[in-house]
Symmetry: C2
Amino acid sequence: MNNVAGFKCVDCGREHHVDEVEYVCVSCGGNLDVVYDYDLICSRLTKSSLAADPTLTMWRYRALLPINSSSETPPLTVGWTPIYDCPAVARRLGLKQLWIKDDGRNPTGSFKDRPSALAVVKAREAGARIVTTASSGNAGSALAGICASIGMESIIFVPALAPPAKIAQLLIYGSTVVLVEGSYDQAYDLCLDASKKFGWYQRSTGYNPFTREGKKTAALEIAEQLNWDVPDKVIVPVGDGNIISGLWKGFNDLYRIGFIEKLPKMIGAQSQNASAIVDASATDGILQDQPAHTVADSINVGKPRDATMAVRAIRESGGCGVKVTDEEIIQSIPRLARETGVFVEPGAAASYAALVKGVESGTIASEDRVLLMLTGNGLKDVETARQAAGEPIQVAPVIDLSELESRIVDARNAQKM
Amino acid sequence: MNNVAGFKCVDCGREHHVDEVEYVCVSCGGNLDVVYDYDLICSRLTKSSLAADPTLTMWRYRALLPINSSSETPPLTVGWTPIYDCPAVARRLGLKQLWIKDDGRNPTGSFKDRPSALAVVKAREAGARIVTTASSGNAGSALAGICASIGMESIIFVPALAPPAKIAQLLIYGSTVVLVEGSYDQAYDLCLDASKKFGWYQRSTGYNPFTREGKKTAALEIAEQLNWDVPDKVIVPVGDGNIISGLWKGFNDLYRIGFIEKLPKMIGAQSQNASAIVDASATDGILQDQPAHTVADSINVGKPRDATMAVRAIRESGGCGVKVTDEEIIQSIPRLARETGVFVEPGAAASYAALVKGVESGTIASEDRVLLMLTGNGLKDVETARQAAGEPIQVAPVIDLSELESRIVDARNAQKM
C-alpha cells in the first residue's frame, strides 16, 4: 500500500508512519484517518483507465484503497450497486432531481459489505486467523458472510435485542455469535476488550481505521455512475457516523485527484431517539453521549464511534443534520417501496424520511439534485416494515368472484387513503 | 417482436401465429412455447456485439427476447447476477469444477425478477392497467416490486401459509394481496378465474408463455459468463418446472445460433414431499398430481404448471431428477453459506442438497463441471434456516474475559461437530 503516506489522528492531529500504528493514535487513542499520496495515485489512475476497467465491484478503485498490490480480495461481488433516477418522486416533492443508490443489493444485503470486505483483506495482510467486530447487525453479517467466503473464522458481538433475522444470518454464515445483554455500545466495549486480550483482528467501526476507506467506495461509485457530476446533496443515515465520514472521504479523494470539480453537501439523517451526531453538528460540534432507542436498529447508537469525522463531514461540506421520528421512518419504508420498487430496512428509510422533512423545512430546495444513500435491504427487518404495510385479503379457495371483486376494490381504496 | 416466428403448443404441437393467441393454445388449452426466427436473430446478434454491449442486466439479450423493439424495460436492474467458482467445495466433493449462480442478488431477492420483469413489459405492450399472478411468494414479490417501479397496479394471490416475510414484502410494495386459504395450486386456479373475468394481465407461471423466456436469460448469462463453455450439468430447483424449462430454452437458443457447441445436462432438484416432475421424468413422463408439503415453499407444488416442458428438459438433455429430504434441504442452507458466503432460501438450497446426493449416488461424476442455480435469497425465509443454524452465546455486558473465552471455545467446538 505504497499509495498510503501515513495516518493522521482525527482528534489530536498527530501524524503516524504506516508501520507505527495498528488501529488508533498512540498518543491520544483517537481514531485514525488514512492519508494518501495523491500524486502517486494520479500517476496510476485516470478517468480513462477506470472507464477501461471491467471490474464492476468496489475493487475497481484499488488505486485509492489502502491495500497491498499483491493482496487477494474476497470472491463475493461487493459494490457497484445500482443508482436509480426517480423522476416521479422528484416531481412530487418539487425537486430538480432525485437519485437513490441501493446498497441493499450487496451480497449480505447491506452497505456494510464494503467495509467488512476491506477489513478482511487487512486481516489477511496482518496474518490474522480470527476477525471480530461489534455490530448492531449488518456489519456483523457482512463480516460473517465475507469471512465464510474465504474460510476465515469470525466472532461477532451483537446487542441481544438485534432483529432475529440479523442474528440468524450470523449463525448461518458460521460465525461464533456473542449476544450481549445490553446496548450496541456495551457490545462494542466488550468486543474491544476481548480482541485486545485474545489477539483477534478487530474490525469494529471507528477503532479500525480502514472501514471508512471501504465505505468511501460508495462515493467513488456515485461520482463515476453520475459521470463525475456529483449530486448537490447526499442524504446518509447516521449511526456511528462512519458511513457519512466515509462518503465524505471518497468525494474528497476524487476532488483531490481532479476527478470532480465540486463537493456535495452531506446531510446526516438520524432518528430523534438516537441523534448524538445531528445534535453535535447543530451546536458546538462536541459529542454528548445519550441514550439511544430507535426502532431503526442500524442507527441505534448512543455513543457514535466515528463522531469527530461525521460532524466534520457535515460541517465542512456545508450540510446539516435532520432528525426524524420513528413513525416517519417506518412510514417511509412502504412509501419508498411503492414509489421506486426498492424495499429498504428502517435505518435506510431514515434517509427518505429526512428528505421529506428537509423539503418541508426548506433545508432541501427545489433546485437541488439529491441522492439518498440506501444502506440496507428491507428483508433484513421485515417485522418493522410490516407495521406500516397494510393487511391482505383472506379468502377461501372457492369464492364467488363478485364477492372477491368487491373485497379487492375495498382493499385498494383502503390502501390509497 | 419480429424475431418471434410464432407459438407452438407444448402439448398438441399446433403452431399459432403471433396475433392468434394471448396465453394458451386455442385448440387444447396447452401451454405455449415461443418460436423464434433464429436466422434474423443471427443477423442481429454476435458474440462480439454482445461483448461490446455495456448493458449488464437481462436486457442485454433483447435480441433473444419476445418484446417489441420500442418497448421500455423497467428500471430495476434484473439479472447479470454473479457466478462464483467454488474450488474448495468441488475438492471436498471430488468434483472437477463447481460454480454457483446467485440469483438471490436480484432486486426483490429472487430469480423470479427475471420472468416478472418480462411479463410487465408484455403487460404494458398489451395496454394493461393491472397485472396479476398466483405465487408461492417469490413470483409475487418480484411482480409487486417491478410493478411499483413503474407505477403499475398488481394483485397477487398467495397461499395463506406462505412465509410471513414474503407476504409482507408484497404488501410493502403496495400490491393488493389475496391470501387463499389453501394450497398454491388452489391460489393459482382462483387467480386464473379472476383474471379471465376481470381482464387483468395474467402473469402466472405456465399459463403465461413469456415467463419461460424471462427465465432463460439466466442460461444466457451462465454461458456468456463462462466464456461460452457451458457446465456439464446444471442443477435447478423444480416447483412448477418453469425455471428448468426456461434454462433449457436458453441453452438451446444459444446452440441454435451457434454461440455454444454443446448442451448441459439438466438436473431437477425436488423435495421428496413435492416430487411430481422428478417422478414423471423417471417413469413414463406423464404427470401425476400429488399432494405437496415441503418446507421449501418456493418448490411446494403438487400440480406443476410447466410440467411437460420441465420433463422434456430433463429427458432431452440426458439429465435426471434428484429427490432430497426436507431435512437435507434445511441442513444445506448453513453448509452452503459457510462454504461460500452465499445464504439462500430453502428452495434454492435444494440444488445443493441434490448435488451432495447426486455425488453420493454417482449421478454426478468426478469429471463433471457442475453449476448450481441458486434461486432465492436466504433473507426471504430466515425462520426455516434458523432451525439448522446453531445457537449464539448470551452474556452479560460485563463478564470475566476468561469465562467469555471458554464459552467461545465451547461454542466453536459445538459448531464443528
